[in-house]
């Protein structure tokens, strides 16, 4: 044991991708080196830019240490978008590889390809899908229920920074060491020491553990918020649908994340402590892992999809100027989906040896989920029926979702039939199916919600033109990229394949490649949309805060909302409260009297705990035991120290609240009420002319 060995553990020069690319300059290694370079340069550029602009102080005091649910939500989304860039580029690289590699080795070596699908899958699920939706729920849900924050603002910040820590580990794996080649599900025994001694599976284990800890805490936080922090009169059956889906998602997070954490920790015990939970020998049983993983995995896909159902419910109702059709049935459908999602996990391993009886049970349970989902689709269609439908970007994505998601559901029924699953499991058919659910079900939902709530968050609207351009990329892009995969899968092409051998597949892989490029263009258009919208913000401001003539409480305050959300906590007497306030001339009124408002002070403890745990887990990956111990002690110490702090709240005096509120009311009085067909024009200042 030399000093260096203790200090650096398994880390050597050779762990750097650049060294590897220098020694062995194949295209595959050079691509790896370039990716590492982009990661390092990107980070350096970001740090440099912030330093040159002198923005560290601002960033630290206004954003990073904030406990405000709105800012935490926005940070979640910014983080997720950065990760999305990486995962999408990886996807395009995989598609390019398959397009080229017909009877030739192509660009990336098999091992590199395996890292690509493993990081792509892991990132998309844990560091894109979940944070995007968590961000959206964080921002919107407290506003919808008339609350000033989530139940545990400080825990919220810890959740964020644990998740970001996982993302940092994923990024680090680009530069030092190799990521797992075991796919996003990391099945042992392949990920056990006997077959995979390197750092790859450890990166996967610890990055995923950080994310799942964060997600479980978020779940607890949101569930308690919806249970305890509703404003007076906000009874259960008056909750907006997005809040309902948030609650159900939160409950899924609470119950689904622990099996995953148990599975990854037991795998870690195998790898670090010489245990035999999932090894081939000494009584280990792989099926235990598979079972635990999918006990998490299936509810997880509903964690990724339910919030989007909530977004569509809000968007379709607002842009059709109608009350949501079948509110009660939508609520019940959401709950039924949440519960059923705990009864179907076995459909992910139909082919792994159970008896036909067990398989049929789970197959039928799976198909049952189609019923509540179908109910939802019909409800949205009936909401549009005879409504004053405006085809805004959000609405376009919602409609594209309804059509595309139904197609994905159909192929889901095929996969839920065990005999058919035996034919197409582990083929590109499956890959096509789950992208068919996740891209409309998560990404379209997030885009629709982003466009819809962006004016609320930042005070100006997004460019409609670029929204449409993005739509034209995202929707045809999806069909081009994934419909060919159904065909290839049905003809037997296995998933996770680095090289193909049948020239007849060429047209299909090329179509899929073009589709993937279109999707990349779709992401680029979203960035351009943001840039253009910021440039044009003077013509799209909506300070009054209700640009779409919408119905929930979140539209009843200025845009952007004040830190404390509501100058006075609203009293709710029916569903769609803001809509009825507007109709009965109850909106935009000063309060009789204002009170002091307490808000949580900023705290750096969340950042410190998150980074401490990241250091700890990175230490575990590289066997730098001192770092692991220091990181953990540091986090624990911070948590304990914080629990002794008493002065953690700040009071905003009533006079200030009143002044702000009255200033906003003056803006409102000066604004011109806009009929719906003018809402995309510069005249829209966020005050709707409501016609009842």
């Amino acid at each position: 044991m030399t000093f260096w060995h203790i200090l650096l553990g398994r880390l050597t020069w050779d762990s750097l991708v650049f060294v590897e690319a220098w020694r062995n300059p194949t295209i595959s290694e050079i691509i790896g080196g370039l990716a590492g370079g982009v990661a390092v340069l990107g980070a350096a550029l970001l740090f440099g830019l912030i330093t040159i602009l002198g923005r560290w102080r601002y960033l630290w005091t206004v954003w990073l240490t904030s406990l405000d649910h709105k800012k935490i939500g926005i940070m979640y989304m910014v983080f997720a978008v950065i990760m999305l860039c990486r995962a999408l580029i990886e996807a395009v690289l995989m598609r390019t590889q398959q397009a080229i590699a017909i009877n030739n080795p192509g660009l990336v070596a098999p091992d590199h390809f395996a890292q690509l699908f493993s990081t792509h899958g892991t990132i998309m699920v844990f560091f894109v899908g979940m944070p995007l939706l968590t961000g959206l729920m964080n921002f919107v849900m407290p506003l919808q229920i008339g609350s000033r924050d989530v139940a545990f603002p400080y825990m919220n910040s810890i959740s964020l920074w644990l998740t970001v820590g996982g993302g940092i580990m994923m990024m680090a794996s680009l530069v030092v060491g190799k990521f797992s080649t075991g796919g996003w599900s990391g099945y042992p025994p392949y990920t056990e020491l006997a077959f995979n001694g390197g750092v790859g599976p450890d990166y996967w284990i610890w990055a995923v553990s950080l994310s799942s800890l964060g997600a479980m805490m978020t779940g607890i936080n949101f569930a308690v918020t919806v249970y305890k922090f509703r404003s007076p009169g906000m009874r259960w059956m008056r909750l907006p649908l997005f809040t309902w889906t948030t609650l159900c998602t939160a409950i899924l997070m609470i119950f689904a994340m622990p099996p995953l954490t148990v599975a990854t920790l037991l795998l870690a015990a195998d790898r670090y402590l010489g245990m035999h939970f999932f090894t081939n020998d000494l009584g280990g049983n792989v099926m235990n892992f598979v079972n635990l993983f999918w006990l998490f995995g299936h509810p997880e896909v509903y964690i990724l999809i339910l919030p989007a159902f909530g977004v569509y419910s809000e968007v379709v109702s607002a842009f059709s100027s109608k009350e949501l059709y079948g509110y009660t049935s939508l609520v019940i459908a959401t709950m039924v989906i949440a519960i059923l999602s705990f009864t179907v996990w076995l459909h992910h391993f139909f082919t792994m040896g159970q008896s036909a009886g067990v398989n049929s049970f789970f197959g039928i349970a799976t198909m049952l989920i189609g019923i509540p989902t179908g109910v939802k689709i019909y409800d949205w269609i009936w909401t549009m029926f005879w409504g004053e439908v405006r085809f805004s970007t959000s609405m376009l994505f919602s409609i594209a979702f309804m059509i595309t998601f139904v197609i994905g559901g159909m192929t889901g029924i095929i996969l839920a039939t065990p005999p058919l699953d035996y034919l197409v499991h582990n083929t590109l058919f499956l890959v096509a199916h789950f992208h068919n659910m996740l891209i409309p079900g998560t990404l379209y939902g997030v885009i629709a919600g982003y466009y819809y709530w962006f004016p609320k968050a930042f005070g100006f609207r997004l460019s409609e033109k670029w929204g449409r351009i993005a739509f034209v990329c995202w929707v045809p892009g999806f069909y081009l990229a994934f419909m060919p995969l159904y065909v290839m899968g049905a003809s037997g092409v296995a998933r996770r394949t680095q090289e193909l051998f049948d020239p007849a597949l060429r047209p299909w892989v090329i179509a899929a490649e073009i589709g993937a490029l279109l999707l990349l263009a779709g992401l680029a258009s979203l960035f351009i949309q943001l840039y253009v919208s910021i440039r044009q913000r003077h013509t799209t401001r909506v300070p009054v805060g209700d640009p779409w003539d919408a119905r929930g409480l979140e539209w009843s305050m200025s845009a952007p909302p004040p830190e404390y959300n509501f100058a006075v906590i609203p009293q709710v007497s029916r569903r769609d409260p803001f809509h009825w306030q507007k109709i009965n001339n109850g909106a935009y009124k000063p309060a009789d009297h204002y009170r002091d408002i307490e808000v949580p002070k900023n705290s750096m403890c969340g950042v410190l705990i998150g980074l401490g745990m990241t250091a700890c887990f990175t230490g575990l990956v590289w066997h730098m035991w001192w770092l692991a111990v220091c990181g953990f002690t540091f986090s624990l110490g911070t948590a304990i120290a914080r629990s002794f702090m008493r002065d953690v709240r700040r009071t905003i005096p009533a006079a200030e609240v009143e002044a702000q509120h009255r200033r906003w009311l003056e803006t409102t009085a000066a604004a011109l009420p806009i009929p719906r067909h003018l809402e995309m024009t510069p005249e829209n200042e966020g005050l709707a002319k409501w016609q009842g």
Binding site: Y227, N285, I339, F342, W345, G353, Q354, V358
Partner: protein
Amino acid sequence: MRRDFITYCFGYLAALSLTGIAFACVFYRLLPPVQTFALVLVLALIQVIVHMRCFLHISLKRSARADLQLILFSAMIILLMVGGTLVVLFNLSARMM
């Protein structure tokens, strides 16, 4: 205040003795293995109820209804997960024989 104190004391003693009995059964081999196992399970279940009642203050009173609902819901999900896991793994194991 006093009532609370008494509940906590009662809960503590009950939990302690339930644990003690379980350990004693195993240590002194008072019963054959299968019965011991069953007894330990039953004691554990009683202990769960003691914890809920004395420490978490769950009761059938109206004010605690929401808590009770949540607990029943959790119990259902755990039953689904644990029960399902047992069925699946025993099924697999039987087919390996």
